[in-house]
């Protein structure tokens, strides 16, 4: 009774047709939302099957035995997992192992070197003042527009003169000269976001420009440096055109990308399980790194997105 007295207005309003209509509408909207959500999920799942397809095929074929490959199946009829192909890849004296070591060597140098070198250059462009700075930066950016093929072919003559043909040098030395215009650009964008007051304070405390770079810029730029490092690793790992252009068939310096092309590429008569195992091993580091640094990669992309 007290309750009714307290709320004299609410009771009649609840029976108002408008309110009932409103409730119904809300219910219908909720039902629609649920239908929409399930629809979304169904569609997303169907699409993910599409995108998973190459990955699944690669993994499935790699764990089949030679006999099963000849039966042209995707899954083993007996449900066994055969790892002999993987073992063969890593057995002593396999050429694959040499490809892998060569690739690791190149990737290690560029993954460490490119972030360091490009951050040095970016620091110069972002925080130091000197004559012609912006003009030089413009030229560096302009080189991004030059198609790579225009220099990759004539550089052969230079590398031949230096004795670099059939060595690993063409794959890492050039990248240490600046680390690439895109990376310098990304780093410079990031560094420009760091307030100058901080640097000025350090300067007043007697720090010279290199100390500032080492003690202030590098720690603050770690996210973008990590992004560049991961990108450099992937770039070195996947690079096909450089070894393809500067290495001859049978060279000692073959990296994974070229080795897989020669051994298992078009025209190869090797079994699919062998080829796929080689592919899975090459893909694995990229996948692991992506999962570990997902956040940095997406954030780094966000920086790329701000380009204009």
């Amino acid at each position: 009774m007290e309750h009714e007295a307290l709320n004299p207005v609410l009771e009649p309003v609840a029976e108002d047709p408008m309110v009932i209509e409103g409730r119904k509408r809300r219910k219908r909207a909720k039902a629609m939302r649920i239908v929409g959500k399930t629809g979304s999920y169904l569609f997303l799942t169907a699409l993910s099957l599409f995108f998973l397809f190459p990955f699944l095929v690669m993994i499935c074929l790699s764990i089949l035995s030679n006999k099963e490959i000849l039966q042209q199946v995707l899954f083993s009829p007996t449900g066994t997992i055969y790892l002999g192909t993987y073992r063969a890849l890593f057995s002593s004296g396999s050429t694959y192992l040499r490809y892998l070591l060569n690739t690791l060597y190149v990737a290690a140098i560029t993954t460490v070197g490119i972030p360091l070198v490009s951050s040095l250059c970016a620091y110069g462009f972002a925080k130091l003042e000197f004559k012609g700075r912006d003009v030089i930066f413009g030229i560096v950016l302009g080189t991004m527009m030059i198609p790579a093929v225009i220099s990759i072919v004539p550089l052969y003559t230079l590398y031949a003169k230096l004795g670099w043909i059939n060595t690993l040098f063409p794959m890492w030395v050039p990248s240490l000269f600046g680390g690439g215009a895109t990376n310098i650009f990304l780093m410079r964008q990031f560094m420009r976001g760091i307030p100058n007051d901080m640097l000025k304070a350090a300067k007043l405390d007697g720090a010279n420009s290199f100390v500032i770079y080492l003690r202030i810029m590098i720690p603050l730029c770690l996210p973008i440096m990590l992004f560049v490092a991961v990108q450099s690793f992937m770039g070195a790992w996947n690079d096909f055109m450089t070894p393809f252009t500067y290495l001859n068939y049978g060279s000692e310096s073959v990296t994974l990308a070229l080795g897989i092309y020669w051994d298992y590429g078009p025209g190869s008569i090797k079994f699919a399980n062998e080829a796929m195992a080689a592919g899975v091993v090459m893909t694995l580091p990229c996948a692991v790194i992506f999962f570990c640094f997902q956040k940095y990669l997406i954030d780094g992309v966000a920086v790329t997105g701000m380009k204009d």
């Binding site: 979304s40 999920y41 997303l44 699409l47 993910s48 995108f51 998973l52 190459p54 990955f55 095929v57 042209q72 995707l74 040095l120 250059c121 110069g124 130091l128 003042e129 000197f130 700075r133 030089i136 030229i139 560096v140 030059i146 198609p147 093929v149 225009i150 220099s151 072919v153 003559t157 230079l158 031949a160 003169k161 050039p174 000269f177 600046g178 215009a181 310098i184 300067k203 007697g206 770079y213 996947n238 393809f244 994974l256 990308a257 092309y261 590429g265 078009p266 699919a272 080829a275 796929m276 592919g279 990229c286 996948a287 990669l297 997406i298 992309v301 966000a302 790329t304 997105g305 380009k307």
Partner: protein
Amino acid sequence: MPDMVSEQELSKSSSNAVAAAETKGTSVRKSPEYRKRKIRENLVGYLYIMPVILGVLIFTAFPVVYAFIESFFETRLMPLGESLGEFVWFDNYIKNFTNSFYRRQFFQSLGVTFLYAVTYIPLSLVLSFLLAVLLNQDIKGMKFFRVLYYLPVLIPAVCSGMLWNRITDPEYGIINKALENIGLGGLPWFTTAASSMPSFIFINLFTLGGSMILWLAQLKNVPKTLYESARLDGAGKFRQLISITIPVCTPMILYNFIMSVIGVMQTYSQVITLTGNSGVDNSLLFYVFNIYGNRVSHFGYACALSFILFGIIGVLTAVTMKTSKWVYYTEEG
């Protein structure tokens, strides 16, 4: 070290003095101390950017200039400094139009490259954008789907080439096998000229995840307040997409478009790792195939071809920039 520190401090205070003096109009600029400091500053700056200056000179400027000179000679590929071969004026450029053999190859490769560009670039732009919009919804598990869709991008190009080479094998390939099992005929894939390009485009659709991630980052940058006010004005989801999301994303569309054009015009490794050649009846004879095919025996011609490609890319970029009135820049941009 202490010397340097004091010098730094000195220069600091003197820069203040310079600023003060400049406002008064006196000529501190010409004082020897100021000049010395300026030179030092310049030297330090150049020291930091020295790697990239050398890099641009050695690995970009030198080969480009060298290739330009070579493009006027008939030379075989040989180490630097040996004879240049015969000077042939503009023959390496002109023979693409006059010599029937070179003309056929040149225009075939242009046709293939442009066909791929005009079909694949718009297709991938639109599809990856739709994917991003789809994955930008506020429901559970989106992160998981994003990773799934990105997975094929992680497969190295050479692995994906050999993988698809086997998947699309007309006799032993997994797709044709499945189609035959359910009573449908197998697809010809790369065994006929007509089906090669569609097959190549289809295969490349698996890497849409790469541009999708770029879009997603861009979609996050769209100010939330815009959507809120649009909702208050009664705009539906579709209307919001057309009137807010797309206009805000136009700078990104422009950037993506230009980068895609530059990339697509240089298509080579994806094809060579997939088919090992330029396809049946040269149906996948992309422009760069001619450059690579001629680089050893007709180095000068290959250089001329790369400069023609440079020109084409330059013109396409310029035209895109000139017609980019549709790009909408926000205040920050």
